[in-house]
Symmetry: C2
Amino acid sequence: MAHELDAIFRPQTIAVIGTSRREGTIGREILHNLVEFEFNGMVFPVNPGAQVIHSMKCYRSVLEIPDEIDLAILVVPSERVLRTAEECGLKGVKGLVVITAGFKEIGARGAELEHRLLEITHRYRMRMIGPNCMGVINTEAQYKMNATFASGIPMPGHVAFISQSGALGAAILGHARELNLGISKFVSVGNKADTAADDLLDYLKDDDETHLILLYLENFGNPRRFTRVAKELSKQKPIIAVKSGRTQAGARAASSHTGALAGMDVATDALFEQCGVLRVSSVEELFDLAVAFKNQPIPRGNRVGIITNAGGPAIMATDACINLGLTLPSFGEVTQAKLESILPEEASIENPVDMIGGARAAHYASALEAVLADEAIDSVLTIFVPPMVTGSLEIVETINRTSKQFTKPVLGCFMGRRDVFQKIELDPGEMLPIYSYPESAAKALEAMVRYRNWRERGQGQIRDFQVDRNKAEAILNRVQHEGRHWLSDGEVAELLEAYGFPLPPSILVSDLAGAQAAVQEIGYPIVLKVIAPGLLHKSDLGGVLVDIRTDQELAQGIMTLSEKMARVESSYPDYQIMVQKMIKGGQETIMGMSLDPGFGPLLMFGLGGIYVEILKDVAFRISPISDRSAREMIESLKTRDLLLGTRGEKPVHIESIVTTLQRLSQLVSDFDILEQIDINPFIVSDEPEKCFVVDARIAIRQIQTTA
Amino acid sequence: MAHELDAIFRPQTIAVIGTSRREGTIGREILHNLVEFEFNGMVFPVNPGAQVIHSMKCYRSVLEIPDEIDLAILVVPSERVLRTAEECGLKGVKGLVVITAGFKEIGARGAELEHRLLEITHRYRMRMIGPNCMGVINTEAQYKMNATFASGIPMPGHVAFISQSGALGAAILGHARELNLGISKFVSVGNKADTAADDLLDYLKDDDETHLILLYLENFGNPRRFTRVAKELSKQKPIIAVKSGRTQAGARAASSHTGALAGMDVATDALFEQCGVLRVSSVEELFDLAVAFKNQPIPRGNRVGIITNAGGPAIMATDACINLGLTLPSFGEVTQAKLESILPEEASIENPVDMIGGARAAHYASALEAVLADEAIDSVLTIFVPPMVTGSLEIVETINRTSKQFTKPVLGCFMGRRDVFQKIELDPGEMLPIYSYPESAAKALEAMVRYRNWRERGQGQIRDFQVDRNKAEAILNRVQHEGRHWLSDGEVAELLEAYGFPLPPSILVSDLAGAQAAVQEIGYPIVLKVIAPGLLHKSDLGGVLVDIRTDQELAQGIMTLSEKMARVESSYPDYQIMVQKMIKGGQETIMGMSLDPGFGPLLMFGLGGIYVEILKDVAFRISPISDRSAREMIESLKTRDLLLGTRGEKPVHIESIVTTLQRLSQLVSDFDILEQIDINPFIVSDEPEKCFVVDARIAIRQIQTTA
């Protein structure tokens, strides 16, 4: 087989183990669904208590089946799953779909069972979906496999759907049918013991039947692999995802139900952003986007034309488009002239084009043609409210036909009178997407524009700076060896210096004479800081004196610090004093890293002080980041204008931020023992020589040693 | 008649003028709809070119009809509307519904026609709906009037719907039928020449058939009257509104289509906020709320219980609830014990209650009963994803039945399998609201909680401060008399002082000796400002010197200012110098007023500097405001924590802000000539004696004089 997961999706033979004669049971429904959808291969029921099920010969065990078995669907009670899996392994089965529940999701006992199940599948080199799932579907004509217990017959198409919730998956299959959204593959991943979303994305990359991928996720198994796979795939096929458990309470609900750890939502947003996955906030929005991506071309840009026969919905559509960052440009002169010649005098030939209530199919056709031909327009939203006159069907079909003459997306918002639209007898695959509300159509257009930008966006460069890695390693080894969590200030400075972070000029001294010499070199104003191994809260100790401007203040300062340290000398016998250039002016920013157990190092950037504390206006990305990602972090801030200088002031030196973020990315990539880095403040100004890391704190992970 | 508008909604006799034999014409459809809905009174077709229409005797003119006519529906061409209206007047008709378009919405010529039409209706004391509308409906059993050309038969119920867009109104009537949302009254208001939303709200106040009011608005005719009427009505009946034209582009689209002025969106938000109207952003949301308000009790608070048979949707519901400010409290011990005894071991008895896939009707009944009985829960969201087993119908009906035993709202989110729910044969009016997506249900619950808070919220007090109104009037009269737009600094200070605004201690002087005497009284540090009639940009002139701390600096400052003024002496011969206490510390806020042509004085408050410039974090209210509204302005700021001191600092003296906002409200209410007031900064600190208006600018409107 070409791919390991073909064992799941492209079997020649399937055994349904634990199927039943009793209608309404899961085992019976799966068998029924396989037969009803006319699976192209052979299906064997297995149940020690029956001879015939669904008019088919029933086997006592998978081992008794005379033919080779590619795929086994397990619906046996959880206490029998291990033995059954073992038998499948012995039989040479290549794939398992374990429907049975009672594993990780019920706690420690179930987790242990799941662990042992996974061992068996590994031992026999079987791939597995589940446990605790509702099955898989592959609508490819050559296979036609519906190995789920969801009701209804799957509609073939080019949309793959991966769901971490079985029940939701079933509901979504139902909605998809109503929306004429044909499915290529459906997978309910359950507890994801062996096969998670990232494996499936990797598999779908080469699946010609799949053009669009929809995800419902509650957590990530392996966020880094997901990122890598999704990043590549999303350049070819759009991926739209609902990730639930956004709020802490939601995450708690998620963890109680799937046994998964709660993922931080900022990390999820960063992840999706970095790998081009279009995140939506509800299943409703998932469908709104899916029907547009399904059969419409991706627009070249964000310029929307609106054509309507009713003012109200057009106003609402305009509001929605503008709020989402789309634009409604004026039409070119040619377009305006065309519209003027076509439409009655009372019509508005501006954008939105309001053809008023009397508009007929011919008006829609001509107006749509004119607007689609306009170079200033990337996509068109047609709005149609059926008046009491007849001809609605003709109008809908005309819009659809006209839209096919161009390679720009055309969406329809046809309000009210669902009875009319249910009569449309077009091939559903050929029909333009139709929405009931203009806001839904606008959301879909915005997502398509976002996807276009993602596909055209360069990857950016991950820079490799010349650094003193050995020195950094030595520092971190020492901290780890000494069992410390926090680096001392001296170590922080050395580490950051080794990685080329811009630090203010500073000199370590031990007395006034040394300090005076240092000032000769650095110049006033200066800051004095007490530095000692193990001294963390120097500010609490009164160990920092700022804005020293004269020799007199310097002498006074050294004396003050010496007296303070004399009182705690026994704790810090080897203290020194750092004479550091005082940085004035510039904009305070913060950057940092916190290690997420699942996502790895999460980089953060924002403006300092009030902006981070009150407004939480910070950007996150998962390390490593390219220069492009660093720049996007800056641009995504609500307070970016304070950096970009759009209020008439000089902009700060953005490249210094970009470079420093990338140095941070390199540092945390090099040492996975780093747990937390807070650079606060990183002061930036309009010249690169005036951008400095003024203070920082760094902590490493506690490594459990076995010794 | 009890109310003038009864002429429109409760006629005994109706003439349809301009009706037609031709099917598919508006005139014919209205006649048909009146007959089809079985209007209880008499209908008379009027058309000079026909003898019979729809099997009814047709009259050449309304004057020829032998009976008295209460209501006339006009569908004649626009050029015949005036003559027809005149005839209606002569006939003694009491109400007109003018369907005909071609009035204000097409420009100046149409506006003139509309003006003359209005004159006729006033002359004959007729009330009018329209022109340019699609008619009215009253489903009351005694009348049963469908005087619209919308297709479909109205479903009677208790929801009134007022729409400024005819087409959207028709679409909404269609949706309402699908959602079993029965209508009491429907009005397409068109150009609102005589009757606008505020008139209709006033009418609906005493309409026992109407329990809930839905609005689609593009602008307000008379925002102040709307506010007054809606504020009273919304305490008895919920009002839910879509106001489109939110964005500038949307407003442009709105104005090109209805000939209306664009309303500022902040003003609209403020207006709705102040009169308890629940604003939604789309028609979809309008319906989401309407079906919940229709037949569910208003919850006592924001504490939601969730009961589900599937994890995924419950997580999404939890996310949605939390994001909207609802809470999911833990259940009481009694509830937990009950749930434990009812549900299988694998179920989660926390909130959300996850009864897992096997849950039957009995489980739903017992769990819902237990949760509804819990004192810690105000409302319940039941989620049900039909599994493949049968019994779905029974579950839905059980949930509905159980919910009736309590007086708490219960909403349903039943996902997928629309086929199942279409089979429910309950009286639609009796069915709990069912949503397809949990987010919609959460939005409805949030709106109900918001409405509860509004209903229970006290009005607050509009204070009447002791002020020197005569002095203020004299100042403003002088400025107006001299044809000036801006008040001078001296006038600003006098005016604000007359209204009791806290100004820093200051003394006007004309030389150094005077300044020295002033400092004796005020104390350093001080600010020196040049004050002269007509001098506006004193800062540009260098006429402000701050932070003067010593006698030497004072002498120097007075000299500097004298020299500067000597250069421009001819312009400002009467200048003086203001010696003002320099205010240090505290938090800079801004407050102000700008006069909106429609809404009147719009008050504004926010933090100063960056917060207003970059973050646009300001609150608006329409004057006059109560102390409660003033407090809500402060609390609605994203940056409120900076004032409330929640970061460990002392809170500022909030009452000083509240009082000053109310003084501002009183000032602008007293003088409608005021056009703009910018108080920037109003410095507030933790003590009332340290809160000061440090600078302000005030402008009056240009009054056109006829002399």
